[in-house]
Symmetry: C2
Subunit: 202 residues, 2 copies
DNA sequence: TTAATTTGGAAACGGTCGTTCCCCAATAGA
DNA sequence: TCTATTGGGGAACGACCGTTTCCAAATTAA
């Protein structure tokens, strides 16, 4: 009986963790963008030989898409955890905005957002990239809308606030923060945008 | 006496207009981004041989920076003209937001903004690009702030609206619109963001 | 005319890109 | 123990990249 639920497949076992390697690739792709990130840079960062890289992934685009998916999975998990601590709808919207603002200054800000980078560099010419960007944007927009409706229900956000329209605006603000973050503004400037945006929920 | 104020320099005269060529380059750089735009694509779009291109510009980056400067010059002129027709501070803010929203849907939206593209793809690694992005962002932010103060003075915007903080938020909204525009939303969705943002000035 | 200068354009260059190949190591199953 | 299968890693490959070179053409100045 194997200790794992699945039996090990034939052939030599992989000596590295795919997800650990992807975490390194995410950094390279985020900082450099898709086209400027060379296989040479990627293999160095991931600690792999070119041959091994191409046994784990079909081609450069596959490495990128796997990195994107990993990035989204990790970021979504962190955001969900952050939102779980929210008191009411309004507090959760504020937490979500701050989540983006915190990622949009200093070193992380300069590193940049893989979703925004993909939208700018890849979405127009690559259908698979575009679909992922669309899904990511739609998820964020829908989440904002849900939180606003939650605020309507618990009384923390006035019902005069239009959920769909406000969600679209807040999505626009978060994506904009990520762009501004590339030029490395201070934490205070990023957070002041959040404070001002929250006025929309008064 | 020459009909022009300046006499013609020695050597064979250039057979194309630099600015016309740059207008073609702007399209290529906007759609493809800096790294994905090859010299081959650029020379085809600009209608020049590689040799001629390199006599007019030092290298690829020089073509890009000249395109960026031309882009900013043209866009700033169009925006200034649009703002000149505004009735008061509030109307001018609305016009400026609509100016970005109109550029952020359909074909133009998918083509993208050269400032946002440069921020994402180049600003982190290239000082000259970063300086241009910074200047562009600072100009927009300062313009928003000026218009809000104008609204304070003419009574179209309540003085409870903080000029600096609101200007930062509106800058974030416009940059976000440009990102969202890459996935080609409808005109209505882009303009609804403007309507909602204008609520901040109530 | 002639010399100097600059552009137009095609061909060529070295370098790097993404990718594949090949050989050896490590594992499962028979 | 033998075979099949897969991964590790480095060397090699063709393609395309940005750039330079070269020569003919067009212009100014002498």
């Amino acid at each position: 009986m194997d200790i794992n639920a699945t039996t090990r497949p034939p052939g030599r076992p992989r000596e590295f963790e795919i997800e650990e390697a992807l975490d390194k690739a995410i950094v390279v792709f985020s900082e450099r963008g898709y086209h400027a990130a060379s296989i040479s840079e990627l293999k160095d960062a991931m600690g792999l030989a070119a041959g091994s890289l191409y046994k784990a992934f079909k081609d450069k685009k596959a490495i990128f898409l796997a990195s994107f998916d990993r990035y989204k999975q990790v970021r979504n998990a962190v955001l969900d955890e952050e939102l779980a601590g929210g008191e009411n709808g309004r507090d959760k919207v504020s937490r979500m905005l701050r989540f983006y603002a915190e990622a949009s200054h200093g070193e992380n800000g300069r590193r940049g957002c893989l979703v925004v980078g993909t939208a700018i560099e890849l979405a127009v010419y690559d259908a698979e990239a575009a679909e992922r960007v669309d899904r990511s944007m739609a998820r964020s927009e829908a989440l904002f809308e849900t939180l606003i409706r939650e605020g309507h229900a618990d009384g923390s956000i006035p019902t005069t606030t239009d959920p769909a329209a406000t969600a679209r605006l807040l999505l626009s603000v978060t994506q904009g923060l990520r762009v501004l973050g590339k030029t490395g503004p201070s934490r205070e400037r990023a957070l002041s945008v959040v404070d001002t945006a929250m006025r929309l929920l008064d």
